[in-house]
């Protein structure tokens, strides 16, 4: 028993910052909760009004503050409550994704998904997969601030 506890304490637990749009993905994560779907508690949700409002600066900043992975999730294409917000998000975040990989950040660290308000199970799976993919990479220290 003692031994087991020590093992779980030393196991690395990745931190995920999840930017969820208010209308779809945030409601989707809520649904996962009220449906009592079990999924890892590693993601810190930050609700934004639209995935299109996620500036690449938010992502860089999250990595700078020590996030091991960043997830951006919005409504499915065509379902945006602001008509075209997720189209704009897709373009902007494609560029930051390419840029992160270009300077040598592991491709797994940034992820984007479309989750509707009815897809609680999908949201749970996305977080589950993300945590599993991040675990072998270990802590993110490339973009993390080095100053105290």
């Amino acid at each position: 028993m003692m031994h087991e506890q020590q093992q779980t304490q030393t196991q690395y637990e990745p931190k995920i910052v999840a930017f969820l749009c208010k209308w779809c993905s945030s409601a989707g994560s809520d649904l996962a909760g009220v449906s009592r779907i079990q999924y890892p508690a590693h993601a810190t949700p930050i609700t934004v009004m639209c995935s299109g409002s996620v500036s690449p600066q938010y992502i860089l900043s999250a990595f700078n503050k020590g996030a091991d992975g960043v997830l951006v999730s919005g409504c499915h294409i065509g379902d945006c409550h602001y008509m075209e917000g997720n189209y704009l998000a897709r373009r902007k975040l494609y560029l930051i994704n390419e840029m992160l990989q270009f300077i040598g950040v592991e491709p797994t660290r940034f992820r984007m998904s479309w989750v509707s308000a009815a897809e609680g199970a999908k949201f749970a799976n996305i977080v589950k997969d993300f945590v599993e993919d991040l675990r072998p990479l270990g802590p993110q220290d490339k973009l993390k601030a080095q100053h105290p």
Partner: protein, 346 residues
């Protein structure tokens, strides 16, 4: 071939007729024969203008500076300013007009075509000649060659040998938007577009190799902000790295000062340098016209063009977007297409 005398005559006539209030161009500097930017306002000063392979600067920067100065003085622009513009400089002007930074009629574009060559890269040239830039006393275009004068006499060099990388890779060495243009439009292929980027991507194919390379580059950055100062597109009044609008008054508490939002710290550490350079690259996505000035002025030689070229290449291939082509089209990040890449999203 352009006769530099034609440029002087044009500039003189423009100033004498009162059509423009100033001409931004190049004159002989104090370091060897290297040109330096100059703003002239009197017709008799026009004789000092030069056009040779050392005219490397992107002069669009000075129109931005003028616009900022006028805004601070609460003055209206009045008559246009004439600007000597190469192909790349003219593209920069197109982007600035696309963003409504100034109107087309506020600028008189004195286009100069690079024809079959471009400007030289100081370091490449010095290496080729085996001397320093001080001892270079003359240089001019001659067809596909540069003719340079040093202490040992005149020497003819094949231009591609010591041209700047960005000029070798240039697609449009001709200023398509212009009021008047000197020189001809010539089709040419000196190096494949994005050649330097492709070389880099091939050499560092894997993710750890990429990181090893960029880590070394970003650690060297001293945050002098020369790249930001020289860039005509970096015209924000307040930059994300140094906020100027946070007013410290008598009643500003220590907590307020401590808690103000700082996206990126000013310390020159690796993480903050990456934050700065990544942000700059993304802010220039679809706006950078590859004038290569940031890389040229970098005192620690960080290959900044690679970052900008990467995004330029992605936006060209995936979104069919080319910066500096038309004033009318919507900018890269304010437009979208139904068939934008979607396969990276779950």
């Amino acid at each position: 071939m352009i006769n530099p005398q034609d440029l002087c005559t044009r500039a003189r006539d423009l100033l004498a007729s009162g059509e423009v209030r100033a001409v931004v161009g190049y004159r002989r500097g104090s370091r060897g024969m290297a040109a330096e930017p100059v703003v002239i306002t009197k017709p008799e000063e026009a004789a000092s203008l030069v056009w040779d392979p050392s005219c490397v600067h992107n002069l669009a920067l000075y129109l931005v500076a003028d616009r900022k100065r006028l805004a601070h003085l609460h003055q209206t622009p009045g008559k246009p300013i004439a600007i000597v513009a190469k192909g790349c400089d003219a593209r920069a002007l197109v982007v600035l007009m696309q963003e409504n930074y100034f109107k087309r009629e506020e600028v008189y574009i004195l286009g100069v075509s690079c024809e079959s060559t471009g400007v030289w890269d100081d370091q490449k040239l010095m290496q080729r000649l085996g001397c320093d830039s001080q001892s270079l006393t003359g240089g001019r275009f001659d067809g596909d060659d540069f003719v340079v004068t040093t202490a040992t006499g005149e020497q003819r060099i094949s231009a591609p040998e010591c041209m700047a990388d960005r000029c070798l890779e240039c697609r449009h060495p001709f200023p398509t938007m212009n009021n008047v243009v000197l020189g001809e439009e010539k089709a040419r292929t000196l190096a494949a577009p994005f050649a330097a980027l492709s070389r880099f991507e091939e050499a560092t194919g894997t993710q750890p190799a990429r990181w090893a390379f960029w880590q070394r580059q970003f650690e060297r950055c001293i945050r002098c902000f020369a790249c930001r100062s020289v860039c005509p597109m970096c015209y924000c009044e307040e930059c994300i790295v140094d906020s100027i609008t946070f007013t410290v008054a008598l009643d500003t508490t220590a907590a307020e000062k401590a808690n103000r939002v700082r996206w990126i710290q000013r310390s020159a550490t690796r993480s903050e340098n990456i934050g700065y350079h990544m942000t700059r690259a993304l802010h220039l996505a679809g706006r950078c016209i590859d004038c290569g000035e940031c890389e040229r002025v970098c005192p620690v030689h960080i290959p900044l063009r690679l970052l900008n070229n990467k995004l330029e290449k992605e936006s060209r291939e995936k979104f069919g977007y080319e910066p500096g082509v038309s004033i009318e089209i919507a900018s890269l990040v304010s437009s979208f297409r139904d068939d934008d890449p979607n396969d990276f999203i779950r």
